[in-house]
Amino acid sequence: MKRLYGASPWHLLSVLAALLFTAYVVSRLADNPSLLRIAVWFVGAAIVWDLVAGPLIALADRLLLPLRSRPRRVGLLNHVRVPALLSLLLLFVWSPVILQRSEQTFQRKAGLTQDPYLERWLIITAVLVLLSAGVYAVRFARAGRAA
C-alpha cells in the first residue's frame, strides 16, 4: 500500500472522502448556469492570492530590507512594515466601499453614498503611520541614551 500509493490507508480514505463529497456538491450545481462562474472565482481566488498578491507583497517587503536594524542602529523596517501591512489589509477588505465600487447598489439599498470611506481610510492610515513613527522616535532616543 505504502509503496504503491505513498501513504497510509487512512490518508487515502480521508482524501477520497473530501474529493467524493466535493463531487457531490458540484453535481448539485450541474444544471445551474452559475457553476462555471463560481468555479472561476473559486480557482481564481487561490491563484491570485498564491501566485500574484502574495509574491508581490513579499517582493515589496524585500525592497524594504535595507531599513533593517544593524548594530548600533535602530531599524526603520518594522516601523514601515506594520502600518503599511495594516493599511493594505484595510484597503483589501473594505475596497468596495473605499474605492466606491458598489456606490449605486449601496445608494439603492441603504440610501447613502460611499463618499466618506476613502477619506476615512486615509485618516486611519495617517494615524497608523504617526503611531509607528512615534514608537520609532522613542526607540531611537532610548538607543541614543544607551550608547
Binding site: 487512512w10 472522502a17 473530501a18 456538491v25 502574495g54 518594522n78 441603504a110
Partner: protein
C-alpha cells in the same frame, strides 16, 4: 536569483512547523465556529418553506441537517449568530493569510507530484485554499453590496462552504498529529520572551517548511504573532460597531457604521422605498391589507382598522445576514391575531407579500411557530411614530430571532396555509 521551486529561495527564519501550528490552532477554534454559525444562518431562512426562503433549491442532502423550524426566542438569537459569523470572519482574515504565508514553500515544492498520495492531497489542499479564499472574498464583498462576482451570493457561499467543510475535515484528520507535535516542540510563553536578535530558525522538519538557508531575523516570532493578532483586532475593532448600537460610529469603514440622524426613523435601511418603484400614493388611504385564511375566509383591512386592534410594543432587533444589526422599539398587531380573523389560528405557514414587485425577497414565508410567537408583529410604528416609507410604511413584519430579510416591508397580503 533562485526560483521559488528551490528550497533555498525561502529565506525567512520564522517559517516552521511551530509557527504554522500556532496559526493553525487558532483557526481550528475559529473555523468550526464559522461553520456552525453559517449552517445556522442557512437554517434561519426555513428553506423547507420553499419560494424565496429557499435560495438553493438544488441543495439535496446538503440541507438535510435541518430537522427543526427556526427558533423564535431569544429574540437576539440571529443577531448574535450573524454578528459572530461576520465579525469573526473578518477577524480570521489575517490568520488565514498568515497561515498561507507560513506554508507557501509547499506550494512550489519540486517535483510537484512524487506519489499518488501527494497528488490527491494537493488536490484536496486546492479545495481547502480555494474554498476559504472564495468564502472570505464573497462574504467581504456581499457585506459591502459589491456583487461583481455575478452569481447569487447564497448559491456561491453555500456550496463553497460545503466544499470547505469537507476539505477542512480532511486536512484536520491528516494534520492534527503534526500540529500537536509541533506545538509541543517549544513553549509558547518561552517563545514570547525571545527577541529578534535571538530568533533563529526551527530545526529542519520533514515537511520542508523550515528554510535550509535562513536569513537573519528582522522580526521575532513574538513580533510576527503580535502583527497577525493586532491585524485581527484592528479589523474587529473597526467593525464591531455595525452590530452594537452604542458603538456604531466606531465602525469607520463598515457600510453599516453610518448615522442616519437622530429621529425615531433614523436607523439602518436595507432596500429603500425609492428602489422598489412603487408610487407613494399607493401607500396612502387607498392601501389595504388582504388576509386569506386556510379555508377560504378573507378580510380586507384599512390601516385605521389595524390601529383599532390590540397594539403590542416590543424592543426587537433587525439583524441582517450581512452581520449588521440594530435594536428598535416596534409597535403593531400580533400576527396570530390577524391569523385568527380569517380562521388561521392553527395555520402551519403564512405567505407574506410586499407591494414590491420582483426582487429576490419581495415575498417570504413564515412557519406556524413564527405565526404564533408572542413577539411576531405586523408593525405599524417604530419608536412611537409611524414607520417611514423606507422602513416599510404602511406596515411591515417584525419576527423575533429571524434574519432581517424575513421582516417583509410594505406588506399588502398575508395568505395563511392549511394546518397539518
Amino acid at each position: 536569483m533562485l526560483l521559488p521551486t528551490d528550497p533555498r529561495s525561502w529565506r525567512s527564519p520564522l517559517r516552521g512547523p511551530w509557527l504554522t501550528s500556532v496559526f493553525a490552532v487558532v483557526l481550528l477554534v475559529g473555523l468550526p465556529l464559522m461553520i456552525v454559525t453559517g449552517l445556522l444562518s442557512y437554517a434561519a431562512y426555513d428553506p423547507s418553506l420553499g419560494g424565496s426562503n429557499d435560495q438553493t433549491p438544488e441543495a439535496g442532502l446538503l440541507a438535510s441537517y435541518i430537522w427543526f423550524d427556526w427558533f423564535t426566542s431569544p429574540s437576539w438569537l440571529y443577531r448574535l449568530n450573524q454578528g459572530t459569523h461576520v465579525l469573526l470572519g473578518l477577524a480570521l482574515i489575517p490568520l488565514v493569510l498568515a497561515k498561507l504565508w507560513s506554508v507557501a514553500p509547499k506550494l512550489f515544492e519540486w517535483p510537484p507530484v512524487a506519489s499518488v498520495a501527494q497528488a490527491l492531497e494537493r488536490l484536496s489542499i486546492l479545495l481547502l485554499v480555494g474554498s476559504i479564499l472564495f468564502l472570505l472574498l464573497t462574504g467581504v464583498m456581499n457585506i459591502q453590496y459589491d456583487y461583481a462576482f455575478g452569481f447569487s451570493f447564497y448559491t456561491g457561499h453555500f456550496y463553497a462552504a460545503w466544499v470547505f467543510i469537507a476539505a477542512f475535515a480532511t486536512h484536520v484528520a491528516l494534520k492534527l498529529p503534526t500540529m500537536i507535535r509541533a506545538l509541543r516542540s517549544r513553549s509558547f510563553t518561552g517563545e514570547l520572551r525571545i527577541s529578534t536578535a535571538d530568533t533563529v530558525a526551527e530545526p529542519m522538519d520533514p515537511d520542508h517548511l523550515v528554510s535550509p538557508d535562513p536569513a537573519e531575523a528582522t522580526v521575532s516570532r513574538r513580533g510576527a504573532l503580535a502583527l497577525v493578532g493586532g491585524s485581527s483586532l484592528t479589523l474587529l475593532a473597526l467593525s464591531i460597531g455595525q452590530s452594537v448600537d452604542p458603538l456604531r460610529p466606531t465602525a469607520l469603514l463598515s457600510p453599516r457604521g453610518r448615522s442616519y440622524g437622530d429621529g425615531p426613523n433614523d436607523f439602518q435601511v436595507n432596500t429603500t422605498f425609492a428602489e422598489i418603484g412603487v408610487d407613494p400614493t399607493q401607500t396612502g388611504s387607498s392601501w389595504r391589507l388582504r388576509l386569506e385564511g386556510p379555508d377560504g375566509q378573507s378580510r380586507v383591512l384599512r390601516r385605521e382598522d389595524l390601529l383599532t386592534m390590540a397594539m403590542v410594543t416590543e424592543q426587537l432587533p433587525i439583524a441582517c445576514v450581512e452581520g449588521w444589526s440594530t435594536s428598535q422599539l416596534w409597535t403593531g398587531v400580533q400576527l396570530r391575531e390577524l391569523a385568527a380573523l380569517v380562521g388561521g389560528r392553527d395555520a402551519e405557514s403564512v405567505f407574506v407579500e410586499s407591494m414590491q414587485r420582483g426582487g429576490a425577497f419581495s415575498t417570504m414565508s413564515l412557519t406556524g411557530k413564527q405565526i404564533r410567537a408572542d413577539k411576531t408583529l405586523l408593525a405599524l410604528k417604530v419608536n412611537g411614530v409611524d414607520l417611514s416609507l423606507d422602513h416599510g410604511f404602511p406596515a411591515r413584519m417584525i419576527i423575533p430571532a429571524a434574519p432581517g430579510v424575513r421582516n417583509t416591508k410594505w406588506v399588502e397580503r398575508l395568505t395563511f396555509g392549511r394546518p397539518a
